[in-house]
Symmetry: C2
């Protein structure tokens, strides 16, 4: 074990919010507040921008009960950003400023909670601090509904989004076949480059309510084949539920949502509706059947009311392990999950992985987990994702509505 | 008490599905199966169409446990229809057929579970049976997320939809203000003529996460005023969450979703996106801010995972009371709710109301519950709706997914 390093810590949140990113923040904050080597716990307003702007909240000023409610609070409570740090060799302005702030508050621990870009930010800061001689331990806490982070079995945030998507698809399945007239329902799911979330819609199949067709961005989309697929299913079953990733693209790489096909000419203004509306219109025009496009939109990433208990717990642990590891001397790492699924038993262990192995790499759904015809996923995908969506947590309510954390956000001086 | 009338009963479901219509069906089925005067319980496939087509399921053949799972199963498990019955004086073909089926199975009780149109169907069948001399007691069991039925405090289905909408709005509120750049979020909510569901978005306000602006179809929509409202709120608060009913219309009665305004000229194809996309585009074009349109779509009526416990219980009771009242001699009535909300205590009693007072009348949000500027609702609306969304029910799951009823649907001979 390293010698004890005493000083303040900063926790920042970055990128798109999730249902459980605040559980990770709470894992960091609670563990840090309870650790004798960490003299002060600061929350950065809007991620790294809060550091640059010197807007830091003193977490020690918060009520313990309110902090605990972060476990039930969706979105990024400290605020988020999408700020891409320059390469320090090209422009070190931001890094100098960060070092200045770190010195001002004697920051010796920096925890950054986010996805690919955030791990990149983490890695750059870590290297810069090492070079500048300011001892500061930098740890990444993973987060992304997209589940596209490398070097970890999965990412906190994914499971709750997956659970929401699968549950919603099952409910849509029930709703869309209620009349004696059939219907095609097209559900658009997030995931620009990786199809994990769309693939998770298949989990609805374990209760017999799964999509008939699933299209991921890992394969090339073909409009004619899509129309033929829908027609075939609709003729066979009288209904058709389609799950489609927002990121599906043609063979030339162009997004279907942005392209004008001959079938949509004249009204193919993708910015008006989204992909779901576009495809719904194509199906309506070509097959003349009743059709509805549904975009799950923001709700899939912020529907904390339907969060997975496994996800909430793991998200918290990711934050806790980050603090404990940093205090023990680790730096330049991200907390990864190493999981086994043997004989129906799921186990998750936490391990540290170098930030460099994570940053700027997108993990996609393996080709062998996609059916050969590109319209579904295999049993391996189900076995992978199903353990992650288990359980619900008891969520405090107020007047029947979810009770979220209300932080004072006292700015540090 | 009337003399005991022995015979079979039919239960049919009609109109758009809800999260709890199956609780009402279960209320009817369970109570009828347990009643000694009811010799057989038949479920009509797709409402009245199942009667006309002689497709009736024998509920006595179902496993009791599966039937009980109807309490957790969204959508209309027996199938629904949108079939408008002719006036029997103009064309009695359907009525003759219904009488034939009633005689074939010795049907002495008919329970119909639906909204306005279904109560109209009920009323017509009731009158025809009385006239034809076939003793059959006809009872309406209310259902509609729109909450627009007359002569009842509220309708089963509304509360669960309201709870889903309010919870989702709170979650979107949290999500949409995560960045340091503001955002306008426009949430489109069901309700073509009555604004109850859109008004229910205000319940998110009890935890401080309510919409900034709410537009109901009870008032006339003005695009210029809307843009000015959004601009004002956005400037004041840095963000703006808008809840808007799909049925908002201009002063001339034309639906905003179908109209082309000058601001949308060139891409105002309402059929592509919905109203939310249309308004989002207007705001983007006029104010140049970040904006997102979200349509809650089918999920608001079928999201059983977020159902209100009060709603589930009341829906069941509506079915139960219908059967008990019919056996006791009542006919031509709908089960209505008579509620008090005194000193924070909510009580609901069941009373019978004549079908004629319900059919073909749409109850709207009272003008005095809408703020004078037409962009919000008053405390009265909150006090009315809040007691209805209380509580969640323990929902059986299977592999972490909701376990729905799986009926055998054995066709009656």
């Amino acid at each position: 074990m390293e010698k004890a390093l005493k000083g303040a810590c900063i926790i920042g949140q970055s990128g798109g919010p999730t249902s459980v990113i605040n559980s990770s923040a709470y894992g960091v904050i609670r563990t840090a507040l309870d650790n004798e080597n960490i003299t002060r716990v600061l929350g950065a307003a809007h991620g790294i921008k809060g550091v640059l702007d010197d807007v830091l909240y003193d977490m020690g000023e918060e009520d313990a009960k309110e902090l605990e409610l972060l476990m039930n609070t969706p979105s990024s409570e400290l605020g988020s950003c999408r700020y891409k740090m320059a390469d320090p060799d090209a422009d070190d302005t931001d890094y100098k400023r960060i070092l200045e702030i770190f010195k001002k508050y004697n920051v010796r621990y920096f925890f950054y909670n986010g996805g690919n870009d955030s791990m990149d930010t983490c890695a750059k800061i870590s290297r810069y601090m090492a070079r500048s001689g300011w001892e500061c331990r930098v740890m990444g806490v993973p987060k992304t509904i997209d589940n596209d982070l490398n070097a970890t079995d999965h990412c906190p945030g994914f499971a709750s989004a997956a659970k929401y998507i699968a549950t919603s698809c099952a409910e849509i399945y029930k709703d869309a076949r209620v009349y004696d007239v059939g219907m095609v329902c097209i559900v658009e799911i997030m995931g620009r480059h990786a199809g994990w979330l769309t693939a998770a819609s298949a989990l609805a199949g374990v209760v017999g309510c799964g999509p008939d067709l699933i299209y991921l961005p890992e394969t090339n989309f073909d409009m004619e084949r899509f129309v033929a697929d829908v027609e075939r299913v609709y003729k066979e079953r009288g209904n058709c539920l389609v799950a489609v990733s927002e990121g599906v693209h043609y063979a030339d790489g162009s997004f279907v949502s942005e392209a004008k096909t001959s079938a949509t000419d004249g009204f193919g203004h993708a910015q008006l509706g989204g992909l779901a509306s576009l495809l719904a219109n194509v199906v309506k025009q070509r097959l003349g059947v009743k059709v509805r496009g549904i975009e799950l939109s923001l709700l899939q990433r912020c529907a904390a009311h339907a969060a997975s208990a496994v996800d909430v717990r793991e998200a918290f642990m990711a934050g806790k392990v980050a603090v404990e590891s940093a205090v023990a001397g680790e730096t330049g790492k991200m907390v990864g999950f190493k999981c086994t699924r043997e004989n129906g038993e799921y186990r998750c262990e936490y391990e540290l992985v170098p930030l460099d192995s994570v940053a700027n790499f997108e993990k996609k759904v393996p080709a062998e987990w996609i059916t050969p015809d590109g319209t579904g996923v295999t049993r391996e995908l189900i076995d992978y994702a199903l353990p992650l969506i288990q359980g619900s947590i008891e969520r405090p309510t107020e007047h029947g509505m979810p009770r979220y954390a209300r932080l004072k956000k006292v700015q540090a001086k």
